[in-house]
């Protein structure tokens, strides 16, 4: 019931804004802030009701939907999906709050797209029926396509069509895999998929079909090429949602579908996955180093950081002798925390770039310099987020990466060492960008006229900074929230893979 409310309240208010909002910009702005904050409050209420010591699904809801194919409207959350839902409900009001800092045509459509998107994203995280999951997963493409296409930059049409076709191509294979699993089990319930016996070939094919969908979303090297385009061209809000939440759906999908449904294939192909993750971490990190566009740089750094998510998901299978529940729990917790923390940090960085772009109308690093002189408050926050992005101890970025590296260290020293290089590369590209943008001399005359951040820009950044810091210093509550579910998942996967 509570999940129902969280999915449909934003969608319905989005539709209302779409209908009435044409001439009432301020009203629809307030309405969108109101409804998204309401959803956030509801999610906090749900958090207070959630019992993190209990295994299994909570807030479960099943209604029959398409009887002939035994498809149910089946919702529920566990410790893996719930943090991501909280992230969604937390980020959306922030994005909506900042939507008026720059001039936009058809503001009501912009707000409505984000609200509808929010409902669909919560739907993705809470759907427990594979068909329903696919419906939300695909429907999400529509608002995102519109957001990048209408309010994006110069090259927006190319970027948005590339984004759409890439993700669409990825997910149709998932659809075939879901249909295949349905035919084998006679049900679309994800939990029925867990219990199915598949031959080795079937497992590998299904794993690959799912992987294709999730790898595009995460995105993993080499199917990441849509991301820099989409990020660069998207409006600030679009980039934030894209980085903070959309990418996490890939990671979530791996944990929800790939590992438990095809444990043997996951274990068998783990080497490939680990190598791809390392390429993302090291090679894409290097690529980020050479970017001249700030948004592109953060986009590539996202790919590199998401590499830790996939590394954490698969690293434990590398060595069956050493593999234990403990290491698996550690690695998956690391991956989850990395997802949440990357959601906060990259979202914040995109907001920061948005703030600068609204003033100078350029994303090129070379056009900046000496921003700290003119915008001291802003500069402080931006430096903080940059340090968090470089995994400074005490910030949330550190926790996730260190957990994954620790888990890798127990499995294989060299993998840990290679992934550890991110601490150097990540620091290099982020701090170098900061040095050129924030510090140094003023090279561009436009910088001389800019104003420091206004309250409406400052508040979201402050809130994000507090969250990043809190998670970095005291990640215990989040870990507790996830622990039981992660432990269940690990057990299930170990049982399936015969470790």
């Amino acid at each position: 019931m509570i999940l129902d409310l969280m999915i449909w309240a934003p969608i319905i208010s989005g539709l209302i804004i779409l209908m009435i909002g044409k001439n009432y910009g301020s009203l629809s702005y307030s309405l969108s802030i109101f409804s998204s904050s309401l959803v956030f409050v509801i999610s906090l209420y749900a958090l207070s009701m959630y019992d993190s010591s209990q295994t299994g699904i909570q807030f479960e809801l099943i209604t029959s939907w398409i009887e002939r194919f035994d498809i149910n409207y089946h919702l529920g959350v566990d410790g893996i999906s719930f943090p991501l839902i909280l992230l969604t409900t937390f980020i959306t009001p922030i994005v909506l709050l900042t939507s008026r800092t720059s001039e936009k045509s058809n503001l009501h459509q912009y707000l409505a797209s984000f609200l509808i998107l929010e409902g669909l994203m919560i739907g993705v995280f809470s759907a427990l029926d594979a068909f329903l999951f696919y419906v939300f997963w695909e429907a999400m493409l529509i608002p995102m396509f519109i957001i990048i296409g209408i309010w994006g930059g110069k090259n927006r049409v190319y970027a948005t069509i590339k984004f759409f076709l890439y993700t669409f191509l990825g997910s149709v294979f998932m659809l075939i895999a879901i249909i295949y699993l349905y035919i084998q089990t006679g049900s679309y319930s994800i939990f029925d998929f867990y219990n199915i016996d598949l031959s080795r070939t079937e497992q590998i094919l299904i794993f690959l079909a799912f992987l294709f969908a999730f790898a595009v979303k995460i995105p993993m090297w080499p199917v990441h090429t849509w991301l820099p385009d989409a990020h660069v061209e998207a409006p600030t809000g679009g980039s934030v949602i894209l980085a903070a939440i959309l990418l996490k759906m890939g990671g979530y999908g791996l944990l929800r579908f790939s590992l438990p449904i095809t444990p043997n294939a996951s274990s068998e192909l783990s080497m490939v996955m680990v190598v791809l993750s390392l390429i993302a971490i090291i090679y894409i990190g290097m690529v980020a180093l050479s970017q001249t566009d700030m948004k592109k740089l953060i986009a590539y750094s996202s790919v590199a950081h998401m590499g830790f998510v996939t590394l954490g998901t698969f690293v434990v299978f590398l060595d069956h002798e050493i593999a234990s529940l403990e290491i698996m729990n550690l690695a998956i917790s690391g991956a989850m925390i990395q997802m949440i923390s990357h959601g906060l940090i990259s979202g914040a960085l995109f907001l920061c770039i948005g703030v600068m772009y609204d003033r100078v109308h350029s994303r090129e690093i070379d056009d900046y310099g000496g921003v700290a002189l003119m915008m001291p408050r802003f500069a402080g926050l931006m430096v903080f987020f940059a340090l968090a992005n470089a995994a400074l101890p005490g910030t949330s970025g550190f926790v996730g990466e260190v957990l994954v590296i620790l888990a890798s260290l127990k499995v294989n020293f060299w993998i840990a060492l290679l992934s550890g290089t991110t601490l150097v590369i990540g620091a290099a590209y982020t701090l170098w960008m900061i040095k050129r943008v924030i510090f140094g001399d003023v090279t561009n005359e436009k910088i001389n006229d800019i104003q420091d951040v206004s309250a409406i820009e400052l508040i979201p950044l402050m809130i994000l900074a507090i969250m990043v810091l809190a998670m970095g210093v005291y990640p215990e509550p989040l870990m507790n929230l996830m622990y039981v579910s992660i432990n269940d998942l690990s057990k299930l996967v170990f049982l399936g893979a015969g470790i």
Partner: protein, 477 residues
Amino acid sequence: MTFHIIGSILPEVTIAIAICVVILVNSLIRSVSAAFIHSMILFFLSVALFLSFVSLEIPNSNIFNGHYVIDSFGTNLKIIALIASILVHLASLKSKNNIKNEIFLIQLFATLGVLILCSAHNLLTVYLGLETLTLSMYGMVASNRNSIEATESAMKFFILGAIASAIFLYGLSIVYGVTGTLSLELIKESNLLDGLEMRIAVAFIACGVIFKFGAFPFHSWVPDSYQGSNTTAAIYISSVPKIGAFALISRLFLDSLNVMSEFWSILILSAGLLSIIIGNLIALMQINLRRMLAYSAIGHIGFVLLSFSIVNDGGISASMTYLLMYILMTISAFALIESISSEDHQHIELSDLKGLNNSHPLIAFMLLFCMFSMVGIPPFIGFYAKWIVLSELVNNGMLWFAIVGIIMSVIAAYYYLRVVWFMYFEKTDQPIENKGMMNTHSITSIFVSVMLLLIGLYPNPIIDYTRIIISSFLLID
């Protein structure tokens, strides 16, 4: 007895009466207003629809010495055809001046042809129904007589159609030669062997059927006639005759020539698969919206045929589900395009859609529904259509066909997205003028488009309905 016979064919009789009345009123009363004719036609169509619902109660029977069969399959198809005709009629009530009343008369003839096809149970009746339909379609395309394009496309359509009819008729005559009977029931009961003559006959008949569906390789009339005719005709041609073609293929192939199913399913399968590939690839290059929709229709029909070639109740009902959903989508697309076109601006091209989001936000939003539905994105009905066909394909071990189909639909997404792109992402100084009128036409087009979403949220009625119809059809026979 006579009364019983007449009682079973009341829908057809109603349409025939409607035709006579419209002819009389149109020619006897000079000053009759178009609105009067429209409402009269609408009235008769609704009566026919009501009577078909009533005739669902009639037990299965053969009438006219077995030339005609009344069964729930035929009656249900008639209901669908009549609902589609009503929607088409409502959706075409826009530009009153440039459309002569005759076109609505011709549409009634075509509807009569479709109704006959739904119940025909003898090769002669089949051909009769088919020709009633086809000849009316020629007339419809040609009715835009001031346009050179229309004349050209009508000519092309006529020549190709005549050849297809001849081939079809030749196929029928071979069947008669081999079996010695015209009755579909007797053909089914005769101990046919899968011989060479029969294969030739089936291939010829398949040509005619594929032509009627407008699928590859007999698809070349589709884009021309969509483009040349006026929208009223185009909406009709893209929707209602496909139901007739579906009745034709079910009665001829599925029912009476079921023995040959191994052979004809290969023909239908290849036509379907190639239609999906060719239709969607050529559609990528179109800039005229109607031509684009025509090629996209070829692609959609490909899915209908592909699913039909599975030849079991699951596959056939998936095929019918796709067909129904396609008809809704095509009516919605054409009606929306019609609502932004005007008399002096009949040919909407992609570039005309620029800035539509600002000048006609509602129409643009509905067209967005329609396009994403055609791409196959949930929660719109186009997704369920694709999904149900893919499910049946995978279920019957045709995984590779499913993969080809799905990859083609990803490619097809590009040209549908291009429509959204021009409406939403491009700006223009000369947007299409918004007349801001709410008339029957725009209400219908919005209603149908909203249905694309609402049925998508709860697709059970269509899915269950087709399943029931098809299983009853396969069970009885």
